[in-house]
């Protein structure tokens, strides 16, 4: 039976850095994880216990995977689509659909191998190109010794992460970039940005994983990465015609709310699924994924109430997303009070950024990819170092040091930002100077639905 070893990095804090006596104070489910990991770096796959799959885990991971797809289609498509003007609605939906399709194929053809096959510190290997050698009974390791899940489920679960991350990016450059450019960008970006960062953070031989950084469900890999790429995209694509001059209110906040709801619903697949098993660890991730966005909703709306007098639906939805983004890296290790804190912090800072800073900078990050995923991801990733502390109700080990863990977190964030910035710039430049990024200005005025797709969203 083939087995692969993939470990999410958050457990690594219990890895080489901790003495085994310490594990006595950990809750059982963390103990198992810790013990596995203590054994890991030294023993490698040779000594690894034979993996056995539990159908309960498989059932949950199948479900979690489906939930992440729900986040993208129709979730993110609607969330984003509702925020643009009517004339660009279909272009957003098409781009999200097209990116998802292309990401799925890139993933099975090469990106999974580059991200999760054993390789260097920066990139995986090539032995799993085209998923070769992976059968129905090939298992991937989970956090618990001897427990595996079918590798194809792991492939599919991670595939949805790659797809949503790529789809998130374009939120900053909608209403002006070409469909073809977006598709080409996705192929490049998943290859030279996403796969390496996923490898560094989540593969057991990855650089950042080796540092012991915590990233339960993708604070760096997904959110910071997408946010930074989006920001870079704005520099390459430029502002929309009429930015800060014409009114560009969201054409359907109803779509946006449907999308926000589906994002929240699907995020349980994202976060609780990242536990890889149907255990109390998933339950911790689940409860945190309820409270952080709830706190985000209320914090953002409260801030609006104070600042502009009226709490808005878009504010509430934005607060939910900010809370979800922030709790993502901490979902498995934070306590509920910490999660509330993260949700509030992320909502307030993001509100300040997208409501004030962004306009001052005249930054046309159209749907606030950087403002919410980037900023929220940074707050969450660094905050994970804090909320994991047992004194704050977190599920870190005894003797957990906020200072040292937070430093590691900050280093991880720095690497993710740098890699994403440079890599994304390369990808955007490549597309810009080959296919071109933007549609013509007449086409932009007319709307991308007609000019790029020859369709109209509504014919009431």
């Amino acid at each position: 039976m083939n087995t692969v070893r993939v470990q999410f990095s958050w457990t690594c804090v219990h890895g080489p850095r901790i003495k085994s006596g310490v594990t006595r104070f950990l809750p059982t489910f963390l103990k198992t994880a810790a013990l596995t990991l203590l054994a890991l770096p030294a023993a490698a796959s040779a000594q690894a216990p034979a993996l056995v799959a539990d159908k309960g885990d498989t059932a949950w991971m199948l479900t979690a995977t489906v939930l992440v797809l729900l986040m993208i289609l129709p979730g993110l498509a609607l969330f984003y689509g509702g925020l643009v003007r009517t004339k660009n609605m279909l272009s957003v939906l098409s781009q999200v659909l097209g990116i998802t399709a292309v990401a799925i194929l890139v993933w099975v053809l090469w990106a999974y191998s580059l991200a999760f096959d054993a390789g260097s510190k920066y990139l995986g290997g090539t032995s799993k190109l085209f998923l070769s050698g992976i059968k129905g009974d090939t298992l991937s390791a989970t956090f618990s010794a001897g427990v595996g899940i079918p590798e194809l489920v792991f492939v599919a679960f991670q595939m949805t992460f790659a797809a949503i991350t790529a789809a998130l990016v374009i939120g900053s450059i909608v209403e002006r970039v070409k469909f073809s450019a977006v598709i080409a960008f996705t192929v490049l970006w998943l290859t030279i940005v996403y796969a390496p960062i996923a490898h560094m953070v989540w593969a057991s031989d990855g650089l950042i994983f080796g540092w012991g950084a915590l990233d339960f469900a993708g604070g760096t890999v997904v959110h910071i990465n997408a946010g930074v790429a989006g920001l870079v995209g704005v520099f390459f694509a430029g502002k929309r015609i009429g930015f800060l001059k014409d009114a560009m209110p969201p054409h359907s906040l109803v779509s946006t709310l449907i999308g926000a709801g589906l994002l929240w619903v699907g995020w349980f697949g994202f976060n609780a699924g990242s536990n890889l098993e149907a255990t109390g660890g998933a339950a911790i991730a689940m409860i945190n994924t309820f409270v952080a966005p709830a706190a985000g909703v209320l914090a953002w709306m409260a801030a609006e109430r104070l600042v502009s007098g009226k709490p808005s639906l878009l504010g509430g939805a934005s607060g939910a997303v900010a809370g979800l983004v922030a709790i993502t890296p901490a979902a498995g290790t934070s306590g509920v009070i910490g999660a509330i804190g993260l949700g509030v912090a992320a909502a307030l800072v993001c509100y300040w950024f997208v409501g004030t800073v962004k306009h001052r900078l005249k930054l046309d990050d159209s749907l606030d990819v950087f403002g919410i995923h980037g900023i929220g991801g940074i707050i969450g990733s660094i905050g994970t170092g804090i909320v994991t502390a047992p004194v704050l109700g977190g599920f870190g080990k005894d003797g957990y040091s906020i200072a040292s863990q937070t430093l590691i977190q900050a280093e991880a964030v720095a690497v993710a930002i740098a890699w994403s910035a440079v890599g994304s710039a390369i990808c955007f430049a490549a597309v810009k100077y080959s296919l071109g990024l933007r549609v013509g200005s007449d086409a932009e005025r007319e709307g991308l639905d007609i000019s790029d797709h020859g369709e109209r969203a509504y014919n009431f």
Partner: protein
């Protein structure tokens, strides 16, 4: 005949229609429009970006009436649609040269 165009506040539509029926108006054509005028629009804020719509939803009535009925109609609308607050709207009167009922081919006053 006269063609009277009335721009009124949307929520006054039902009342105006009923009042006009009462004075003998048998038909009218209604459209949704947006009005620009003294009335200031609401400020809407979306993620910190403020939009003040100077274009405010109004309802536009187009009513063809026989010469004689015109003054009554004007008065009726002015009465019913008035709230006394800014943005109550306008009445415009044009001369209507000819009218035809498509169904029957009747013309002018009997077409209305």
């Amino acid at each position: 005949m006269k063609l009277i165009i009335a721009i009124i506040k949307p929520y006054k539509l039902d009342e105006v229609r009923d009042a006009l029926s009462a004075v003998g108006v048998q038909g009218m054509t209604v459209s949704e429009v947006r009005g620009f005028g003294r009335q200031k629009g609401q400020t809407e804020i979306y993620r910190g970006a403020e939009y003040t719509t100077s274009l405010i939803p109004k309802v536009r009535l187009e009513i063809a009436v026989p010469e004689g009925l015109a003054p009554t109609v004007l008065e009726t609308i002015q009465h019913t649609a008035q709230t006394g607050t800014i943005g109550d709207g306008k009445l415009f009167v044009l001369d209507l040269e000819q009218a035809v009922r498509i169904r029957t081919g009747e013309t002018d006053d009997s077409a209305l």
